[in-house]
Every structure is written in C-alpha cells, then in structure tokens.
Symmetry: C2
Subunit: 339 residues, 2 copies
Amino acid sequence: MPPSIKQVAQQAGVSTATVSRLLNKPESVSSDTADKINQAIAALGFRPNFNGRNLRAGRSRTVGVVVPTLSNTVFAQCLQGIELAARSLDYSVMFTATEYRQEDEAAAVDLLLSHRVDGVILTVADASASATLDVLDSERIPYVLTYNQPQQASRLSVSVDNRAAARDAVAHLIALGHTRIQMLSGYFHASDRAIQRYQGYVDAMREHGLTPLTPIEVPRHTGLGVDYLQSFADPQQRPSALFCSNDLLAFAAMRDLRALGLRVPQDISVMGFDGIPLGEMMSPVLASAVQPSEQIGEVALRTLVAAIEQGSPDGAGQPASSILAHAIRHGGSVQIFVP
Amino acid sequence: MPPSIKQVAQQAGVSTATVSRLLNKPESVSSDTADKINQAIAALGFRPNFNGRNLRAGRSRTVGVVVPTLSNTVFAQCLQGIELAARSLDYSVMFTATEYRQEDEAAAVDLLLSHRVDGVILTVADASASATLDVLDSERIPYVLTYNQPQQASRLSVSVDNRAAARDAVAHLIALGHTRIQMLSGYFHASDRAIQRYQGYVDAMREHGLTPLTPIEVPRHTGLGVDYLQSFADPQQRPSALFCSNDLLAFAAMRDLRALGLRVPQDISVMGFDGIPLGEMMSPVLASAVQPSEQIGEVALRTLVAAIEQGSPDGAGQPASSILAHAIRHGGSVQIFVP
DNA sequence: CTGAAAGCGCTAACAT
DNA sequence: ATGTTAGCGCTTTCAG
C-alpha cells in the first residue's frame, strides 16, 4: 500500500486537512508548514490517490473514448488529438474499441460509466439510432460524437460536412472529364458517414446532369477476393473513376485493380476519403477528401470539457457542435478522363 | 449524483452489505432477495461506482499504457492489441502518449500511478537508462515494456529480436546481390531499437565480408528536406540498397528518392522495418522486417496481468518476457542487384 | 443468509 | 493558518 495523506500528515506533524490544502490550494498554507509537508511527501514518495479524491469530489477529470478500431489511421489520429488536448487540460483518457460491433458500444460505455468518467467521446455506427447514445442522454452524461453528424441538433458532434466533402470530391472528378463515376463503400448499415458520403456523390452527379450509378457495398475487411470488381474487366462496363468512402478501401481497391491488370490512373482513376497521411507519401499520391482527424479529436475534447464544466466557475464557453473544414487533395491516382 | 448501493439497499429493503454481496458473490444471496435487489437496481438504473470499489480494494483493474505516438501505425496496432486483451480479461485501459519526449514519460507514469492503475505497459526511448522505469521499480508497480529489449533481464518485455530481425532483413538484401547497403535510421538516442537494428545490420554485413557504411541518422519528422539524400545523386556514391529502421522512414525515403528522380527499385532498393499493413497494399510492396504489433500488445497485456495477479488465487502463470517471431516480407521495393 | 459497523484516501464545512 | 469531523461508495470482517 502506498503512503496516504494520513502518513504524510503524521510525518509532518500536521493534520490531513493541511496536507490536502497544500495539494489543492497551496497559497492557503504558510510557507514553513508547506516546507515540512513537502519534505514528508518527498521522503515518503507520496502520490495522491485519485480514487479517494474522485469519490469525494464526484468528478474524475477523466474522459472515456470509444472508437470502432485503431486499425484505421483515422481513429488513431483522432485519439492522438484527444489525448494531447486532454493532457493540456489535465484530463486523463480511458480508451476502448468496439471493432464495429454495436453490442460492444453499449458494453464499453457501461464500463466507462462505472469508472465515473466525466464524459465520453465516441464514434458510433449510426448516430440517429443508437441505444448507447440514448443511455448517455438519459443519464445526463456529457458526450461528443466524432465523425458522426447526428440528425438531432441536441447531440454534440465534431466532424467535417461529409456530404459536402463527398460532393466536392466527386465534382473534382467531374471537372476532370469523368462521367462514369461509381462509388465503392463500406456497408451503409455500419456507418452513417458512408450514407452521407453517398448522398454527396449523388448530389454532385445530379448537379452535373449525370446519372448516379449503383454503389458497390463491400465488407470492411476487404480481403483477397476481387469478385466485387469482376465487372471491371470489361472496359465498356467499368467506370472511369472510382470514389471510395474511405482511404483504406481506396488502397484495397487499387491493389485489387492492379491484380486485375488495370492501371491506376491510366485505366481508372481512384479517389478516397479521409486523407490519411500515408496517402501522400506513396506514388501515385492518393487523391482524397481530407478531414483533419487529429484536430477533430482535439476539438472534440475541448468541446466535451466545456460541456463538463458547464456553469462551473472557470467554465469554458458554451459547448457547440463543430463542422471542420475539409480539403480536396489532388493526387496522381486521379487523371483527366481520356476517352 | 447517480444512485449508490445505499439507495438500492433502501429500495430493496435490505442492507448495503447484501447488495454488495449480490454484486460480487451472487451465489451467497437467496434467490428472492436477489430478485428484489435486481429489481431495485433496474428501477434506479444503478451502476456500481468503481472509485468506491477501488478505494476499498486497493486495486483498480485498470492498466496504464504509454506509447511515443499514435501517428505511427505500429503503436496504434499495439494499443489495439492491448485493449482487446484487456477487455477480455475485464481490465480497463488508461492511455497516454509522450511524443517521444522523455520528460513526458515520467509525467505520464506519474499521472497513471495517481490513478492507481494496477500496472503499466510502455515503450520508452531507452530501456537501459530510464528514470521512469526506475520509479516503477522502486514503487514495485508491475510493468511490461513493448518493443524495447532491456539489458536487465529483471524487466519484463515483449518484442521481436530487433537485432536478429535486422540481420535477416539485410541478409535478404545481400542474398539478392547487394553489397553497398546503407542504413537510414531515426536518431539513435531516441530509440534503443534503432541501435539494436543497426547492430543487426552490422552483423549481417560482417558475416558476409562486407563493410558496414556509416548510418544516416535523421529526425523523426522527415519533412520535405532531401538534404540527407543529397549524395545519392551520384550513382557511384549511392548505395544500391537502403535499409530503414522503420517503415515510416522507408516511405519518406522513397518519396524523397522519387523527388530526386530516382526510381525504386530500379535505381535503388528500399527495405523497411515494422511491416505495417499498408506497406502490403501499395505498389511496389514495401519489403520489410515484420513484427506482429497487435500480438505484441496482446501478449504484453497478458504478461502484465500475470504479474499483477502474481500469487492471487486465480493467478495466471509466472510472467516472463517474450521474444515474438519476426518475418521478412519480400516486396517490389527490393530488387536483385544489377551492376 | 443477512445486518451492523469500520475504514479505504480524500476534501470541505465548520471551528478556532 | 490550521485542526476536527463527517462522509463520498464500497467491501469485509464479525455477529447473529
């Protein structure tokens, strides 16, 4: 058992309250008792026990984070942003992944709530129909969604405008002369963002008088199977450009296209969504709708803390949802359409 | 304030002790009182407060994780493995990053210890000279190193054999006819692994009667500067193969080589270390010494839990350090040497 | 099988 | 400026 405030008090010849004061409001302790106490603290190697403090205070200065997976760089970057911002505000981070399983979302949040985190940052499959969010609402635990753009304005969120970003991406392809543009997407039911991005695709096509094609939905772990691209063998059949709902999918598609003997971008252009850093290091550079993942995390954390500290003395400003700016990254994976 | 065990007890007409018993040893409570209590729990939406429990128990079933950064996929995967394994063993994870700053290592561990985590998993700059590890040792907090291979056998760790893996990687290049092989590495002082990998490089060179070249040390964030490759312009000067201490560096190098007008692998072969998944999706595939990052995380967590539960009734086996198997991934970034 | 009571470490009134 | 005291939620003897 590590030393407690009690032993420090004894060693320093003061009461536990004074030790506590030194820890929390140092200016309210005379400098010589402070010295004595600090000495005792150093001698004993004392470190405050946050469990005691939290129990007493009813707050933990800890936030919970729930993401689908860390295998997708996007979420890793986001968590990175969260942790960095949390540290700067003296908050700690408890982390959980769900592997895209909705049951696990609920269990994860449950566990976090048992730890009495002050709030939660999460990305869910579908923000408009999530039992998990309902729990959070009913228990009045502050939370902030990342990547999700909920219908309900009451739900705090931080994301790009997925629909607009997708529209811009597809408009970019159209501007380069492409007319047969098809979307490759993860399962819609597993990601409300994928749906919004598809809507953006449709927007762009319609705006330019083009006919949207049926999207190709594929499972997340796009393994070795290239069945989903079978029709691409026929040059008449295949689109001239493929717009993927995320960069990982774009990479998988490019690999599979290559396996089919197709060249990117000469035979087909490929555009992604997310703008993961590695996309920029490779050749050809992966064109993509870039979202600022680390910043999404940072802003989400700040928003959450604002929500947590609502009405507290030093409470930050009113928390509000944010739509962060996206950008279109041009890259060699996309080429002017040549008939 | 959420409901406490006390309110549940009152609502169910029993004592708090009985509620606690139902929560912890359900079989020691009669089935009808159990019913009453469960009903009260459901009605109140009760959730145990781990702070109270931890305070009392002196254990938290929480582990702390400290990694340099999540921008490197390797650590993201590792954290993923940790979290997954933790969840399966009913442990929670508090996460921190250090951005490779040693001061932050100490601060991070300090914070985790204040939260009274039961143990820590961490990757440090230099496992043989780390104030942070000394603290952990002196406070008798169980910890497991990941990626680091400490000199001191007393320190638990999970990693590949960095030296042997590097030796194998370089031997692969030599087998393909390369003789002028140079190493590109992150700063040695920031990573003991980098040193071990350099030793492996030297081993392989010497074993084959070749002269090791002076390694090129570069900062982590290999920006746009290509100065470090300036000498490569001269075909006589440059090595025929570049062995990079990690995959991120390999990608950056390939990008910079391209900027210099050099082709990979025709003009120069490039080999990495880590074997990040994306390396396999691109063209050319990045040849690399693959370490099983997610598994490293998983094994580290299990080892840590074994150390924590040492001597406890259901204690797992004796904790021990692990050297996991590496593999050499062949890829198009490396080519047979043609004079 | 259940209850009463003590105490884990800490902080916040309330006194002095 | 400092001490006294009560209590946050929970578990665990000890009695019954």
